[in-house]
Point group: C2
DNA sequence: GCGTTTCTGAGGCTCAGTATCAGATTGAGT
DNA sequence: ACTCAATCTGATACTGAGCCTCAGAAACGC
C-alpha cells in the first residue's frame, strides 16, 4: 500500500475502489472452493463452515458475500442471464422471437461445449441436488424477467400489463426447452451436442 | 380379515385399514391448519411448532406426515398432477399434443374458477414466498414426468431415450404457459378468467 | 387375549441463516 | 500527516428446520 502514491495513475484508471477488488477476488475464490467441494463431496455433504475454513473466512463474513449456500455456485447464473438477454436484444428484428431466443441461447451452448466435462459435472450436480435445482429455477425466473421487455417489444404489446401473458409464456417456454436440452445433454453424457438437442427441443414447439 | 368371509364386499370396498383413515384425517387437518396460518401470518412467519401445537401433534410426528414444511401445502399438487395426466391421456388421439394439453389443463381452470378467492390467495402465497415457489417448481417437474410417457406415445418416439428431448420440451413449455397464465391471473386479481389467459399463453406458441 | 408391528412424544443433535457487538481497516476531508 | 466516519471482520449467541434415537402406547394379525 506504500506504493499507492507512485501508482496513482494505475489505481485511478482501473479501480473505482481499491477495496472492491479484494471483494471480487474473495468472491471468486469462494466460488472456486465451493464448486470443488460440492462436486467432490456433494452439496449436502459439504458444510458452510468447511468452505469458510478452507477459504480462511469466518462463516458470518461468508454469508455477507453470499446470502445462501446455494448462491455460492448459482450467483454466476445472473451474469449469464444478462448475457443471454443482451444477445437476444442484439438479434435483428427480422427474426421471429422464437428464432431470436434460440440464437441468444448460443451464448450458453458455446460456453458449455468449450469445457464439456466441467459443464457436465456442474449440470449434473444441479440436477441431482434438489435444493440446488429449486434455486436454479429461481434464477431462471430472473432470466425471464430480463427477457420479457424485449419480447414484449417484438410482440408489439406493452409490458407491465397483467393480462399480457405472451412474453411470460414465450420466455418460460423457451427456457423450458433449454432445460429439456440440458437434461438430455447430461443424460447422454454429452454424446449429442447441446446445440443439436436445443434445436430439437425448440423445434418441437414450432413443428 | 376374520370377517372377510361374511363382509368381504364391504371390507374390500371401503376400509382396507382402520388406521389408514386416521392418517388421512390427520393429514387433511394439518393441511387445513397450515393453509390458514400461512395465509394469515405468512409462510415464514409461521413455525412448524405452531402448526403442530394447533393440530395437537408433536413436531416429530408432524414431520412423519410431511417431509418438509412446504409439503404441508404442496403435497396436494401431486394428486392434481395425476388428474391432469389422466385427463391428458383421455383426450382423443385426433388432437395434437399441444391442444390436448390445453384441454387437460381445464381440470385446473375449473377447480380454480370454482373458488376464485381461495385459489387466488393460495396462488398469491405460492408466488410471493420464495421457498414455496421453489418447491412448487419441483412439483411441476413431477407433473412433467407424469405427462411425458403419453406425449412420447403421441409423438411416436420412445420414452427413456436421453436424446429424445421432445416430450420433455413440450411438457415443460406447456407448464411454463400454465405458470404464465396463473401469474397473470393473480396479477389482475382474477379479472380475466384463467382459461382465457391460458388460451392466450398457449396460443402465443402456436401463433 | 397375546405377540408383533407400527405410531407417537420426548429429547437431543446438526446445520443454515440472522442479529449484535467490539475491534480493525479503508477512504475521504482537512 | 492526522482525524473522523463508514465499512468490513470475527466472535458469539440465537432461531428454526430437519434428522435420529428411544421408550411407551396404540392397533393389527393370530
Amino acid at each position: 500500500m506504500t506504493d499507492s502514491a507512485g501508482a496513482s495513475a494505475q489505481s485511478a484508471t482501473k479501480p473505482p475502489g481499491l477495496r472492491e477488488r479484494m471483494r471480487a477476488t474473495v468472491r471468486k475464490e469462494v466460488v472456486e472452493v465451493a464448486l470443488r467441494l460440492f462436486i467432490e463431496q456433494g452439496f449436502d455433504g459439504t458444510t458452510v463452515d468447511q468452505i469458510a475454513g478452507e477459504v480462511g473466512l469466518s462463516r458470518a463474513s461468508l454469508f455477507r458475500y453470499f446470502g445462501t449456500k446455494e448462491d455460492m455456485v448459482l450467483q454466476g447464473l445472473e451474469e449469464t442471464g444478462r448475457q443471454i438477454a443482451e444477445a437476444f436484444a442484439a438479434r435483428p428484428d427480422t427474426e421471429r422471437p422464437w428464432e431470436a431466443l434460440r440464437r441468444a441461447f448460443d451464448v450458453l451452448t458455446r460456453t458449455n461445449e468449450a469445457a464439456p466435462e466441467q459443464a457436465l459435472s456442474y449440470l449434473r450436480m444441479l440436477q441431482e441436488t434438489p435444493s440446488l435445482r429449486a434455486r436454479h429455477f429461481e434464477k431462471q425466473l430472473s432470466w425471464q424477467a430480463m427477457l420479457e421487455p424485449e419480447i414484449a417489444r417484438r410482440l408489439g404489446v406493452s409490458a407491465d400489463q397483467p393480462e399480457e401473458v405472451g412474453p411470460n409464456a414465450l420466455s418460460g417456454a423457451a427456457l423450458a426447452c433449454l432445460d429439456a436440452a440440458a437434461t438430455g445433454w447430461v443424460a447422454c453424457e454429452g454424446a449429442v451436442p447441446l446445440a443439436v438437442l436445443l434445436d430439437r427441443a425448440m423445434g418441437t414447439l414450432t413443428e
